[in-house]
Amino acid sequence: MNIIVCVKRVPDSGTRVRVTGDGRGIDTSGVKYVVNPYDEFAVEEAIQIREERGEGQVTALCLGPDEAEEQLRNALAMGADDAVLLEAEPPMDGLTVARELAAELEDRDFDLLLFGKQAIDDDNMQVPPMVAEILGLPCATVVVDLDVEDGRAVARREVEGGHEMVELELPAVVSTQKGLNEPRYADLKGIMAAKKKPLEKKEVELAEASTELLSMREPEEGTDGEIVGEGAEAAPELARRLHEEAKVL
């Protein structure tokens, strides 16, 4: 079974991100980058499927700058077999990214294409279903449980207030959600092995974006929280405030 996992290079969630003066991007100086955390569920799932079946190939695919090699090496250190970097500065436009990934994937032979459900930098959640659409493949998003058997996959999806079971014919596209598995940590053996695994770099020319980023701004400084009361007695008042004022219940 061939599994391709798409990973994205994103700022670490612990990094303080600042918008540049022109409001069109973020100041990248001093920013630490990591593999998008949702993509780690996808990498882990791919490795687990390969381990359970005792055969198969896990390929990590990334569209990103030259430095994204670090994130691909991380995927290799976790246990992916090989990696491909489509070298380009990824745009905010999901469709451009999806088209470029699809163009690469068109010529590749795979049974399963995994993504994280969203990237934590732009939070768009667009690319996985778009790639599925372009390639004409079935797609399940926000998956928390996945069973793969010959030719088919059964996925449990998180939906509002419950779960939904879907069956997909392979090859299929699946985007992964927290809860699917516990991603392993790369250890020294993995890091050493990753140095020797094949990593192919291809420069790509991206098509012109169909959406344009107009501006970004940092969120307002948050106000301090309010302590409604203590212990069980506080619960009714807390529920009332959440319902009537915050309108989240």
């Binding site: 670090e70 090496r73 991380n74 250190a77 940590y185 790369a186 250890d187 020294l188 053996k189 993995g190 890091i191 050493m192 140095k195």
Partner: protein, 379 residues
């Protein structure tokens, strides 16, 4: 590579928080789970060449691993010697000995993390050790006493230095010493191990050898050349332990700067007072400077170039800087620094050891004064 290694060690250490180490400290127990996980992940075999099953990395990477363990609040001293004690076998052992031990050490099946040199009447003055190894046919018979020998109860093998020719019969006092690998699992009654209680949670012991037989095939290198073999491993040890001090120093700076930014007294964070802020900033710069010297020493060591000056210097600078950071952190925390649940007092006690071990900082000063700067001998 270095960043990935740091991240990976941090990830592992995150699973062993302050409470884990505090609980062990309270019970005086060995961090068995932590050491097992570190071993399984291959970190302790990082310096064993790939042909023997290790990662084939250098002191630079070994230092990064130990630094991150100590920076996380952990204590690498529980297992650091598994990383470098094998160096004596690797550099001076026969091919047969390397094949016999190193792959098992790399897998963690054999724990080789005990190193017996110091004696009650010979610490820094190593050539005065009195433990005798007398050749009788195919074995050497060991008699004598060693002290402050660490991790004996968590080791399978131990590297030991003993006199094969009495001091009176050698021309140079550095002659007549030999190195052996002692199999602790087969020692029986001929080796008595008496644990020494210390102010930190660190297993160390007094050893009495009463006719313990060591097969001649366990002697490393030539008989009588042992002192030189031991010396060659000391630079690696100094660079690696300096890395632990760097980690300690950064731990204290991390904690102190966080606490100084959060803790409010008289309506402002205490860190807004320069009396609190400056000592932490000063300690941070000194720790970073020591880390630069450590990096330099490690680069030289890994390139097989002379590095005694840099290895000694970084050990001194890092341990002193960590101690300064420890005190700055204790001052920042005030009374809370004494409270066990803050973790600081445990690290404070642990950081103190590096001023005197594995070599006393006064001896580093004499080394630099006499061997680097050419001033007259003091001893």
């Amino acid at each position: 590579m270095e960043d990935r290694l740091r991240d990976a060690v941090r990830d592992l250490c995150d699973r062993y928080p302050d409470e884990y180490w505090r609980e062990l400290d309270r019970r005086g127990a060995y961090p068995a789970d932590f050491v097992q996980e570190l071993t399984d992940a291959g970190y302790l075999a990082c310096m064993i060449p790939e042909e023997y099953g290790g990662a084939g990395l250098g002191v630079s990477e070994g230092g990064v691993i130990l630094e991150e363990i100590n920076r996380s609040g952990g204590n690498a001293a529980a297992c650091h010697a598994q990383m470098y004690t094998m160096g004596t076998v690797l550099r001076h052992g026969s091919e047969e000995q390397k094949e016999r031990w190193l792959p098992q050490v790399a897998r963690g099946d054999l724990r080789l993390q005990s190193f017996a040199v110091t004696e009650p009447d010979a610490g820094s003055d190593t050539t005065r050790i009195q433990t005798r190894a007398e050749r009788r046919g195919d074995v050497y018979v060991l008699r004598g006493t060693k002290v402050f020998i660490s991790r004996v109860q968590h080791s399978d093998l131990m590297v030991l230095l003993a006199r094969t020719t009495p001091l009176e019969e050698v021309e140079e006092r550095t002659d007549g010493l030999s190195v052996f690998v002692v199999d602790l699992r087969r020692a029986g009654d001929a080796l008595q191990v008496r644990p020494i209680e210390t102010m930190i949670n660190h297993e160390t012991n007094e050893l009495h050898f009463d006719g313990l037989e060591v097969p001649a095939e366990n002697r490393i290198g030539e008989e009588g050349e042992g002192f030189r073999y031991i010396l060659s491993g000391m630079n690696a040890e100094r660079i690696l332990l300096a890395s632990e001090s760097v980690g300690d120093g950064l731990y204290f700076v991390d904690r102190a700067s966080d606490y100084a930014s959060e803790r409010e007294v008289f309506g402002a964070p205490i860190g807004s007072n320069q009396g609190v802020q400056f000592p932490v900033a000063e300690a941070y710069m000194k720790v970073r400077a020591a880390a630069v010297m450590r990096d330099r020493a490690a680069d030289l060591f890994d390139a097989d170039r002379p590095c005694a000056e840099e290895a000694n210097s970084c050990k001194y600078l890092a341990s002193e800087a960590a101690w300064e950071a420890a005190n700055a952190a204790m001052d920042t925390f005030g009374g809370y620094g004494m409270a066990t649940e803050y973790g600081l007092e445990r690290k404070f006690r642990e950081a103190r050891l590096y001023l005197v071990a594995p070599v006393s900082n006064n001896l580093v000063l004499s080394y630099v004064g006499q061997h680097v700067l050419g001033m007259p001998r003091s001893y």
